[in-house]
């Protein structure tokens, strides 16, 4: 009898479990079929080509014109894709939100047993699916091409995730706007407002501690977000991205819940659930905003949020530099391998002058940039100190692209290296700094001329010999005596000049050589 009862209980449990599984399966099939119908008739499908075209015209072409560095391409992709997709997505979702009112189907669908929230979730999901499908195509094109061109590193996924999260979030906002205000003007107004908020609220960002950084358009410290110097020597710091994803999630939940709150005027329970969801969404978004406000520019050029920061992000990346086979090797981070020929060409005249001299660097290596927040939105960039074992003479340098500014052409890049890094290298060799002796200035200037500076050209009286890369260089203006010594030294045959430097460089660096002692 007991065995029979137990068997019956087991059978009943099995039947209940099977029933539950069947209900879940049925529910899944219904949702899938509804989603399919929504996908087939979703306005986003028709607006998608416009979004993809916008992306191609404004973002893809811009990104491809930039150096093939993952950090640059990913940041460009994030901010571009957000604008290109969110504006049409908000409009399309608003159009879909007004659909019931426009088609006069409100009564018809509101009396069906499927909860309003479930129906609208499917509509939102279909809109987001199309938008994300287009977005993924654009992501694949951008990252695919970057993978083909980049010499080192791999895709940065956080920027892609931020943009991807913002698409359904803004779709929910558009849907909410369309559902709550079913007017013919809702879609254009919603789209323009979204664009306005995205494009112009970044103007409100001052410094790295700004709440507005939570907007998905922002890829890093404003105005330096696409700087090639970040996330190459050190890992990508995802703190801001995490806050932005949290913000997107919060917006999504709050917007969808707002739709739920607006329906069923007299039905209490769904409204209570919607109110709870809306509160959660607002709290999530608010937390994200608060977190973004605590961000600060870290030394590696990214936004660090203390509550989200992982110290592992501060450890430098390991890489094998790419080096030239020149007398003094020039070594770059492998991500910048494409820059090596231009860098070597720009430094070749200087290297030719100093190779084999005592105190000449054994290697010239690219180093990481160090960032510091200046007043307002200004950012100060210096070069990271190079670990230098005793006895070795490693010289660090920053490439022009690591400094803030527009991307440079190859010719501009080469000219910039020649104008800034070359003099720094020579100054390093002759030991010339801000307090250089007259003899050091004369030798440095003569070597500069020999290395390709136009004969007779001299620094003007006001010219400060030096650059932002931190290498100390002579600061003295050329007086007639120095000029005469410079001309005398530069007029020497190459072999005589080199022989003199081999014998006297140590004394020159120590400041023991006077102008009169120069040959």
């Amino acid at each position: 009898m007991t065995t029979t009862a137990a068997t019956a209980a087991t059978a009943a449990t099995a039947v209940t479990a099977a029933g539950r599984a069947r209900v879940a399966c049925d529910s899944g099939r219904v949702t899938a079929r509804l989603l399919w119908l929504e996908l087939r008739h979703n306005a986003m499908l028709w607006i998608l080509p416009a979004a993809v075209l916008l992306f191609w015209f404004t973002t893809y072409r811009t990104a491809m014109a930039l150096p093939p560095l993952w950090n640059v391409r990913a940041a460009t992709f994030q901010s571009g894709a957000v604008v290109d997709f969110i504006t049409p997505v908000v409009g399309a979702a608003a159009v879909i939100g007004t659909r019931q009112a426009r088609r006069r189907t409100t009564d018809l669908v509101s009396i069906t047993s499927l909860p309003r929230s479930a129906r609208l979730l499917v509509t939102w999901a279909a809109t987001s699916c199309w938008a994300l499908a287009g977005y993924l195509i654009c992501l694949a094109a951008t990252y695919g091409e970057t993978a083909r061109e980049a010499s080192w590193g791999g895709p940065l996924w956080w920027p892609a995730v931020v943009a991807a999260t913002s698409v359904p979030a803004f779709a929910a906002l558009g849907l909410a706007a369309g559902t709550l205000v079913p007017s013919r003007f809702t879609a254009p107004v919603a789209a323009v407002v979204a664009f306005f908020v995205l494009a112009l609220s970044t103007e409100l960002i001052v410094g790295s501690q700004s709440y507005w950084q939570v907007l998905p358009l922002v890829t890093g410290p404003w105005d330096t977000g696409k700087d090639p110097g970040v996330a190459t020597f050190y890992p990508y710091v995802p703190d801001l991205s995490i806050a932005q994803v949290l913000f997107g999630g919060g917006l999504t939940v709050a917007a969808l819940a707002a739709i739920g709150l607006s329906g069923g005027r007299s039905w209490r329970r769904p409204r209570a659930v919607a109110a709870a969801a809306a509160t959660c969404g607002v709290l999530m978004a608010g937390t994200a905003v608060a977190l973004a406000g605590t961000g600060r520019l870290d030394a590696h050029g990214m936004i660090e949020i203390p509550a989200l920061h992982d110290a592992a992000s501060d450890r430098p990346l390991r890489f094998t530099p790419v080096c030239s086979g020149t007398a003094i090797p020039v070594c770059l981070n492998p991500a910048y391998a494409g820059y090596l020929p231009a860098t070597v060409a720009a430094l070749a005249p200087v290297v030719r002058e100093i190779a084999g001299l005592p105190f000449a660097p054994t290697k010239i290596s690219q180093v990481a940039a160090v960032y510091a927040q200046g007043p307002g939105n200004s950012v100060e960039i210096s070069q990271e100190a190079l670990p230098s074992p005793s006895g070795s003479r490693l010289l660090g340098m920053l490439l022009p692209d690591q400094l803030l500014g527009p991307p440079l052409s190859v010719a501009q890049f080469e000219a910039n290296v020649r104008a800034n890094t070359g003099p720094s290298v020579l100054a390093y060799v002759v030991g010339a700094g801000p307090h250089a002796s007259a003899a050091q200035v004369a030798v440095w200037t003569a070597l500069m001329n020999a290395a390709g500076r136009p004969p007779g050209a001299q620094p003007s009286g006001s010219e400060q010999v030096g650059n932002a890369q931190g290498t100390e260089q002579p600061a003295a203006a050329l007086d007639p005596a120095v000029l005469a010594a410079t001309r005398r030294f530069a007029a020497l045959p190459v072999s005589a000049r080199r022989a003199w430097l081999v014998r006297n460089l140590a004394a020159l660096r120590a400041g023991h050589i006077t102008l009169g002692q120069l040959p």
Binding site: D26, H41, D107, T112, P115, R119, P270
Partner: protein, 247 residues
Amino acid sequence: MNVEITRVTRRFGRTMAVRGITLTAGPGVLGLLGPNGAGKTTLLRMMATVVPPSSGRMRLLDRDPGLYRPRQEIRRRLGYLPQSLGYYPGFTIGEFVEYFALLKEVPPARMRTAVSAAIERVELGDQAKARLRTLSGGMLRRVGIAQAIVNEPDLLLLDEPTAGLDPEQRVAFRALLRDLGQHATVVVSTHLVEDVGAACARVALMDRGTIVYTGTPAELTARGVGHSSGDAPLERGYSAVLAAARS
């Protein structure tokens, strides 16, 4: 009783659309007659759970539509054709009916059969793939009826269902109504008294927000004896009752 309405009112701002109606209905076809603005559509919308009553008590399919879960259960077993059918022009007939079958949570195993059966019952089976934007007004009305019956409802509410149907279709539709009324409670709001005479077992006549008459079509016809207004006996009964209510 599938419909139990007790002293129900519905107010829209300062307008009282329905004034303290009491009505019960079991399986069978109930015709709801009345002039324009009598409150028929408002009553139907309340029965369809589109709008809640301002006051009074309402039970549908032995459940209280004012509560969330019971309302969902009612809606699963409810069919409704509004007076003005909204639709998505890009949908095909099949998609439109399937869409509502999905919203009404028809079990997936029965979905395909239910959709095609509903479309067949309104004689649009050979055009299931036609887009709604290409259909005539009468065909759209039949699509509306198909979506209303796709879940084999126990309570079917039809607001002017025969508007736009040709005579042949109206005859077929009356047969369909009688068939549906075998098991379900069907409430048909209409101006066309011949539809009521041909298809309804009971009739309720509304005027200015109240029900002024309930009975069978034959009884309504009998009320018209000796009344001159109207071309058909049932129309004379309709006019006589209205005149009496207004006097």
